[in-house]
Amino acid sequence: MTIDLEMAEIAKVFFQESREGLDVMESGLLSLGATADRENINTIFRAAHSIKGGSATFGFAEVAGFTHGVETLLDEMRNGVRPVTAEAIQTLLQACDCLREMIAATEAEQPLDQVRIASLNSDITHILGGGPSEAPALAPVSVPTSAPAEGNAAAGTGAVHVPCGWRVIFQPVAGLLRLRNEPTRMFAELRRLGEVVARADVSRLPQLDALDPESCYLSWNIEITGQISRPKLDEIFDWVDSGCRLEFTPTGEAVPAAPVPAAQTVQQPQVPNAAPEQAKAGSAADADRGASAGAPAQKAAGDSGSIRVATEKVDDIINLVGELLITQSMLSGFADGIDPNDLDRLRQGLAQLARNTRELQESVMQIRMLPISFAFNRFPRIVHDLSRKLAKKVELKLSGEGTELDKTVLEKISDPLVHLVRNALDHGLEIPERRIAAGKQETGTLELAAFHEGGNIIIEVRDDGAGLNKAKILQKARERALVAPDQELTDEQIDNLIFMPGFSTAEQISDVSGRGVGMDVVRRNINDLGGHVQISSKEGLGSTIRIRLPLTLAILDGQLVRVGKEIYIISLLAIVETIQVARERVNTLVGRTEVFRLRDEYLPVVKLCDQFGVEPDSRSAEDGLLVVLEADGKRVGVLVDDLLAQQQVVIKSLESNFKSVAGIAGATILGDGTVALIIDAPGLISSAAKQGAGAVAAHAA
């Protein structure tokens, strides 16, 4: 492996961590709006510093230069020199966006947006210029980690006076090499700046038998001649971590009687032990070390000891565990057949195997689980920006951020959630004047909550805005012929009309919502995840959108049903109840559609045998069982011959080797090794509803 490749790998880690750092900065800045506490500013500062340090090391001078300005501003805020104003926060937020783009552009090796950078730079300089502190040059200046402010200022002023040489005393800690720092590489860098004479001090070198080959016992006395600015030197030694003795002494006559101390010992604070807040702030400050070591870094979310694992690897384990489950159930089936004295022990062993596999499966599934904060984290910013734009006052409340769900589900739910939040802000919450007029608090509340309920995760988006205008929705639905003119609907049914395709009551499409991603798309995305969305709303009091999602897409709690000789699986989530039906409660409508009366409701009967072309035991409803399925608020009764076991099944894709089939959501492998198909309940219901709707309506009328 060449160094270039290795560097590219490390750079990738840097880009990833910079993004995390930016997220930390952004969330910090947003909470800064409410309270300007020091701790928070420290966190933001450290994130900015790590990005600067990293980018300087990788030679991304523009990123480093830009971040330096940001960092200077943050440093002054941190030291209380600069007040935390809304204007400054806004500028810093924009700087975060800009940095994000710069990092993306650098990674893609695209040109940077110089106009934007320059304009933000001048904004920052403008803010900096209005105070007691000198605005430092926006050159790629590096300051040692968490260096005291005086050192920072000195470095800034020092940059102006360039001496014609330096004497550097460099006495690294013993663990230098283990941190993947390579002194010879630093010397090579120094050599690029000027003529270097380095003398190694071997006085600390122990006897050979006491020598640890991975430790560094050497220290150096380096003379370097040339017009070199102090920051350039700092940049080279930036990675040298805490505990090193590092002294820079300018040599030569060009040294002015400037405030630069003759010998400045930069005693860097111990970064890893700096304070507990460091741990709390996640890996922001650790990022530079992580990047240089190429080590898996922690997530910025704040939980320590997390690892970054390639999803494929985890998927492989999940597949293997699925296999294990299959083997186990195969063995269980086998045990029922034999009957010597060993049977008890075999049963015991199998029980243990069953427990082990289940535990293993659970823990492996946990690897894929991520807290929903990964999706929630972007909302403070979205709400902040949008509420400014719409001139509304909004307080965002998040709860249950720690609720975990499958990574795939998490990724796919993010966009629908953004849409729902935008909708709530644009259509739900009112402008302050109207809120006051309605006797409500001026500031509206938007709540995002996540929690577990049964085997599902529930995400709720609640606002205390105007609620849905039911009369208007019903009128619109009648205009569009989505609802028959004389059809009576419950309030809940009216609310849920907004999920119908092509439905929008917005008089005019704003650029906030109405971008072509309608509520029907939200619902479809959620349905694709095996989930379910519902809205309930009280006029004048607000709306609640409730999303129910399965915890994972890899495993499903299934009910095995038999039709003739075939076995199918229905997700337990879709099953409302199973009933035996009496002949007199089944009516045949308009020739062949059968409906069944369940309490006050007429449900269309779907015969799986006809749907799937299977020869059943019996075609008449009273001989079989009717499984009532529900999806999207619609219900159907599915006629099967028998109910078999309920079990967790590992979902296998039909599409990977074949293609998707109508009415089938996937396949799984049963204990006997055969394949069973999983029924796509929402698909089945919607196709049945299309066939049966007319008939039911005709009957009910």
Binding site: S656, F658, I669, V675
Partner: protein, 173 residues
């Protein structure tokens, strides 16, 4: 000109570089060949799980060590007379490229036959009309030991069978 390809037991190291190995199988009295590099394994016929809304030549799916693999009946696919599956009936599991994806698919044939080295130069394009098999699936014809061998374009055959022709909700044939 006539006999340049010779049967091999599988490990003919002297095979010219331009030659390819083909696994041949029997189907209604004709011998067909598929590129041996595409063949993953050969297994006996076993029960399948039927899939609704698919053409009749899609017999169903099987569990192949955890993967759900569709099984196609080549006799039905080519519109040949169907026969009861006997002891020689086998499933040839092949890996095919359909579009961008690689798929694993099993095809049911009457019996496996031989492995031949086929010199690329001897392969002849199929005539426009070629008996029972739709000629678009025929890559080439070669003559080996006085008999004709039909080399199949397995990618196109499978791709057409499972991707292009299947429409969701298609009528059960």
């Amino acid at each position: 000109m006539m006999i340049t390809a010779k049967p091999t037991a599988g490990a003919d190291k002297s095979a010219a570089e331009s030659s390819e190995q083909y696994l041949t199988f029997m189907l209604a009295g004709e011998e067909y060949g598929v590129d041996i590099l595409r063949v993953q394994e050969i297994k006996g016929w076993d029960k399948v799980t039927r899939i609704p809304h698919t053409p009749d030549y899609v017999l169903g799916v099987i569990n192949l060590r955890g993967a759900v693999v569709p099984i196609l009946d080549l006799r039905r696919r080519f519109g040949l007379e169907t026969i009861a599956f006997g002891p020689t009936t086998v499933v040839i599991v092949v890996r095919v490229m359909t579009g961008r994806d690689e798929r694993t698919v099993g095809v049911v044939v009457d019996a496996v036959s031989e492995v031949y080295n086929v010199d690329a130069a001897d392969a002849k394009p199929p005539p426009d009309v070629c008996g029972t098999v739709d000629t678009v699936f025929v890559k080439a014809l070669v003559t080996i030991e006085e008999k004709m061998l039909i080399l199949l374009d397995i990618d196109r055959l499978i791709g057409n069978s499972i991707v292009d022709e299947l429409v969701p909700g298609a009528e059960v044939a």
